[in-house]
Symmetry: C2
Subunit: 412 residues, 2 copies
């Protein structure tokens, strides 16, 4: 049984991971959190203690760490005795943290694909550029590495697997829809790190359709969805991590990702993008200062973690999966609805961070009890979804299904 | 008779000034141009020679100069024997250049008010914060200093004076309207230095109405104008230099400035402003780099001088002046229409630069022939407008009037 967890990162998602680990420290053992700025880790620990989140008395320590330095990460893993690493730092550190896990035998998890700061939107499948190249090394070292185990990617991959296993014989399409119908009350803000948020949308939109990669531009393809609780919402086909693994695991199905955007977001994004302010390539000011425009945009925008206290409304994220069952066309929508205010009251973060931060803790618990400790690298749809969804029901992210038979809890 | 001209600056307006000085070097004598980057001066000289703009063989030399260094400016004035300095550099250098003129006895001109880089939109009247404090020093030294002698401020001040002198007994209102109905074909660009352009619109909108300073916010007050040639255009009340001198010279009149903006400009401006990207105050990136957002916006936008080859359409800038004549209400619109393509063909710059760059050359010629060599500091409405407008008719900026008697050349 693996125990002792090291959380890497100190943003809004890390805050949720920390609270949820604390709430389950009877299963997870000693807890550690590390980031470049130790004061941010300490602030998270303070919030954990304020809420009395620790289920039982135990260790929860903050550490300063440069996660780009793989040897330093490995040393911290050894020093803390961590057997599970939850990497919710910047997506630029995935490979150095993964290597440290391979070197020390600790289990690895992340919630977003690795990115090279200087490149946007690489060749599909994205996982093939970095993570999957280390699959054999994980296998050889017997290291469990679960890629992309936030909500999307993560829970939505498990939803696809559940649909394929239980609702149909053949899957013909998987449409993942992510709607945030909440309101933060600011003139404009991204819901997580603006740099990462905008990077998602400045590149090519890859989808897997008719057995091949298809390309579109951002906001080129939009449609209105009518979803439980949040109602009618416009969403746009967007490039997203999970398309790149689901396409490999369900190559005969069309796989698309749709994200909801209001006209205001699209307008701000369009202005910034067309002016060149979302570029990850440096420009030089008239005074000769070299600066990356996207980092300046990030600097002027609200810190996403500051939104939580005022955030109201709900998110709805789910998979519309279509297929053939007993020769007939069937479809099912498997989804979760989360509430921003509830999230804030429980863990001090808004709903977007909450949906991303709870799943890796459920996964850590499944690794700790052996259920998911598979000793190799996987994407989430390669794991049995049922123990995961069962646990998520219990710790804050209940799953529902809606199909011809009605709208109900998934395991009703 | 003062001769020999030193041009300070090497942007789009400086290019026009250089060409126009060359075209009139029989009156103006030796010509010199100086800026921080001597290569930009050299490029302007190359364009002057390509067009064969020099009226007669003569001196035209480029110099490197830090115009923030008043002693260096004075030294260059002495070295070149310049007796007229046309300052079309950044508005941050007005005071150092003016001081150099006072120290050397050279005549001084600029086209925009002095600005402190760290301050936006100071207390009205703006001229009172810097320029007018040196009026006595100019008087004592017998130095001719003509403030704000571009088009607006500049020609529009002369239009106001002409209206007051010839068209009415009492002036009740002066509305200056600046419409650029041209198109540069880019997704977005400012027509001159973006930093200066945006700084104009991020502060309080000051107007002089009912004998007092009134304040509004940008884009708060808009109205549609129906103007000669360019037709119906929406313009917004804007803070602008000339309001601050005209209000002092015509305190019983209402003085307002209106600038035309399309919805697209307003949208881009609003997004950038609301996000904080137009701020002149530094922010710190996550990596710890201190950077002024406005300077990054400037760095990503097109260089305004690059717009000239593709610019088509016309500008219309004029004064609607209302007053009382023989006990009756009268009004006159005194204006100029300029064409972007014509400007480019003649001097290699677009129309906005052309309208700003021709007037100081006319003023230099009037100083050289003694007409305007008044040996003290003035705003343009304090000078006899007729020789100025007569000369402008001849060198590219003809003036027309429209009133109850019709639409005709001003001196028809």
């Amino acid at each position: 049984m693996k125990r002792n967890v090291l959380i890497i990162g100190a943003g809004g998602v890390a805050q949720v991971v920390a609270h949820k680990c604390a709430q389950n420290n009877d299963v997870l053992g000693d807890l550690h959190i590390a980031s470049r700025t130790v004061a941010k880790c300490q602030a998270i620990l303070d919030s954990v203690h304020e809420k009395g989140a620790m289920k039982q008395p135990g260790v929860f320590k903050a550490h300063a760490l440069d996660a780009m330095d793989s040897a330093a990460v490995a040393q911290l893993i050894r020093d803390t005795g961590a057997r599970i690493v939850i990497n919710v730092g910047s997506p630029f550190v995935n490979m150095t943290v993964l290597q440290a896990c391979i070197d020390t035998g600790a289990a690895y998890m992340d919630t977003a694909i690795h990115e090279d700061p200087a490149k946007i939107c690489e060749t599909p499948p994205w996982y093939g550029n970095y993570e999957w190249k280390r699959r054999e090394a994980c296998e050889k070292a017997g290291v469990t590495a679960i890629l992309g185990i936030g909500f999307d990617p993560g829970v939505v991959n498990a939803y696809a697997r559940l649909a394929a296993d239980d609702y149909m014989d053949t899957v013909t399409s998987i449409d993942i829809v992510d709607i945030n119908a909440g309101s933060h009350g600011r003139w404009f803000s991204t819901n997580f790190d603006p740099e990462i948020n905008f990077r998602e949308f400045t590149g090519t939109v890859y989808s897997w359709q008719n057995g091949a990669w298809q390309t579109n531009t951002m906001f080129e393809v939009g449609r209105e969805w009518d979803l439980p609780v949040v109602g009618k919402q416009k969403a746009y086909m967007t490039g997203h991590d999970e398309v790149h693994s689901l396409a490999a695991n369900y190559p005969d199905a069309d796989v698309r990702f749709w994200m909801g955007f209001g006209d205001h977001y699209i307008n701000v994004f369009t202005v910034l993008k067309n002016l060149g302010l979302l570029s990850e390539q440096p420009v030089k000011t008239a005074e000769g200062l070299e600066v990356i425009p996207l980092k300046v945009v990030k600097a002027v925008l609200p810190d996403p973690s500051s939104l939580a206290p005022d955030y109201v409304g709900k998110t709805c994220i789910g998979d519309l999966v279509k297929g053939i069952k007993d020769g007939k066309e069937v479809e099912v929508f498997i989804y979760n609805v989360a509430d921003h205010k509830d999230a804030y009251n429980e863990v001090g973060s808004q709903g977007i961070s909450y949906t991303a931060g709870v799943p890796p803790v459920a996964a850590a618990m499944l690794i700790a009890n052996g259920t998911w400790d598979i000793g190799t690298m996987v994407n989430v749809e390669e794991l049995d979804p049922k123990p995961f969804l069962t646990l998520l029901d219990q710790i804050g992210l209940p799953t529902r299904v809606k199909d011809a038979a009605g709208d109900r809890p998934w395991n009703a």
